[in-house]
């Protein structure tokens, strides 16, 4: 009897010790994970974790969509009353949406104006050249088609995890991965607008809804099977070729080109240091002013639609003969739910379409 109670007491002591050891070990593991995350060591693991969770998550979302469709008939019957209630609640959201749409439209118009002005200038130059040089161009076949060798596709994706608010954006995980054809270094744009590589040259007439100048969110840093990790524009390792767009009394002009990089370090002003970018490589001979818009010069080295980065918030001379330019990224003011991944695709003619090169 005594031996049995002694054995029980020892087992209880072992049980108690094991419980405490486990609890403290797990607490320490969580603390280590916190420090590792602060050092940026968990990014790869986070991508793999989301990737492994994605099949179940996608299955549930698809089941939810089926359920929504089944309930659709009932919802439509009650729609009138519901709409009345919702309209009051969404009034404020509507104003915010209108503001965002008008801001987007403004950017599109700025880009279009600058493009037309450039076109006008080029036309004038070509006209001068034509006047000076008399060349018979009948032997040149320009093709006469508007087809381009490449085209840009936008893969829609949803943001499934972010580090928090857009102002302190550090990492972003979207639900598009290798299965959707996403590869590293592709640009991520705000999904509220679509991106088209067609303009007036492609029979797009006035009144057609042509959206361009989507806000750049970042770039794909890692891809897994189902998800991708996004490196935001404010990341110090982010870089892209950009061009300034100036607004003068005569209209909008494309200005100097430079390299935009992220900058999360504390700035001298100390205001919104987490959400600023820098532009390097613009010589002091170029005109730069606060308020200039920043748009992409190219997309991964290829000419394409202009994308919007943000606005110059500070511009100072450096001793080395360059500008020190700080940019407030437009993504900082956006609530990111849906995004688009801009992909370059070859626009090869289909076999037998008659567009193959002839010997």
């Amino acid at each position: 009897m005594t031996a049995s109670s002694g054995c029980n007491a020892m087992r209880a002591e072992t049980y108690r010790l094991r419980m405490w050891l486990t609890a403290i070990s797990m607490s320490l593991l969580s603390a280590i994970a916190l420090v590792a995350d602060s050092c940026g060591l968990l990014s790869g693991f986070r991508t793999r974790l989301h990737d492994s969770l994605s099949p179940g998550r996608l299955l549930l979302v698809s089941l939810g969509n089926v359920g929504d469709a089944a309930d659709g008939s009932v919802e439509r019957a009650e729609g009138q009353n519901a709409r009345q209630n919702i309209s009051d609640e969404t009034a404020n959201d509507g104003i915010e949406l209108q503001y965002q749409q008008s801001e987007m439209q403004r950017r599109q118009l700025l880009l279009e104006n600058a493009r037309l002005r450039n076109q006008l200038r080029q036309q004038a130059m070509l006209q001068q050249v034509d006047d000076l040089v008399t060349t018979n161009s009948a032997g040149f076949d320009t093709g006469g088609t508007n087809s381009s060798l490449h085209r840009f596709l936008v893969t829609p994706a949803r943001v499934i995890s972010s580090r928090g608010l857009a102002d302190s954006l550090r990492d972003l995980i979207v639900d598009a991965g290798k299965v959707a054809g996403v590869t590293r270094s592709e640009l991520i744009v705000d999904g509220s607008g679509w991106l088209l590589d067609k303009g007036t040259d492609y029979q797009v007439s006035a009144g057609d809804r042509v959206l361009a100048g989507a806000v750049v969110v970042g770039r794909v840093a890692q891809t897994a099977r189902w998800v991708s990790l996004v490196q935001p524009v404010t990341d110090p390792e982010f870089s892209a070729r950009v061009q300034l767009m100036r607004t003068s009394s005569q209209g909008q002009f494309f200005g100097a080109e430079g390299i935009l990089t992220g900058s999360q370090g504390p700035s001298d002003s100390g205001v919104d240091a987490d959400s600023e970018c820098e532009i390097h490589g613009i010589p002091y001979t170029e005109a730069v002013s606060v308020g200039d818009d920043v748009v992409s010069a190219d997309i991964n080295g290829t000419n394409g639609p202009r994308l919007y980065f943000g606005r110059v918030s500070r511009a100072e001379f450096l001793q080395g003969g360059q500008w020190s330019i700080r940019v407030r990224p437009a993504v900082a003011s956006l609530q990111l739910d849906d995004v688009g991944i801009v992909r370059l695709d070859l626009n090869l003619p289909a076999p037998g379409s008659g567009e193959e090169a002839k010997p």
Partner: protein
Amino acid sequence: MKAGLMIALLLWMTLCVELAWPDRLPSGCLMIPLAVAAACWLRNSLGVVLFSFILLLSWIARPVGLPLAAIVSPIIIAAFLLRTGHSGREGSRVSVAASGLLQLPLLVVLVSVLHQAAIHASGFQGPAVSDAASVVGHQFIELIQALVQDPGRFANNTLAVLLIAVPFSVVLNILLVLSDELGLRRNLQAGRDIYGF
């Protein structure tokens, strides 16, 4: 071991559910009650490991603020499990059953408050710091500042979670008590052997 695997699968699925509808389900509203119930069901170190691990994975998947729940809760759970092992011997059967029905919801409330406090602090904008150690220390200060400066939003967010988590935990607790009464919990029986009640 089989029970542990089943519970791990269940917790994994719960994490999938919360990630599938992040806009409809507040963070932790299903996972916390289920993780606490899993720890109470197993009543051993494996239960504490599963509980802590799913909270940690949830934080890694959605790293908002500090993993406060993952750091503090394992110790709370361990203390609770060891304490209930001893206190279960005293009192009438009715009072023991009544206190048993309250234990799980109370634990869920405690863990949910910790979880929401960390999320609430993440929205608070403090001065920028670059050093990793400073960041971690600074986040603790931000946590306290955020709770002091905007308690209303914290209360609303916590209430939103508890509105789902508490009823869910009550249902789970009833299931736990029923399974205990019906003799489906072998681990509790092992605990009784250990503590002699």
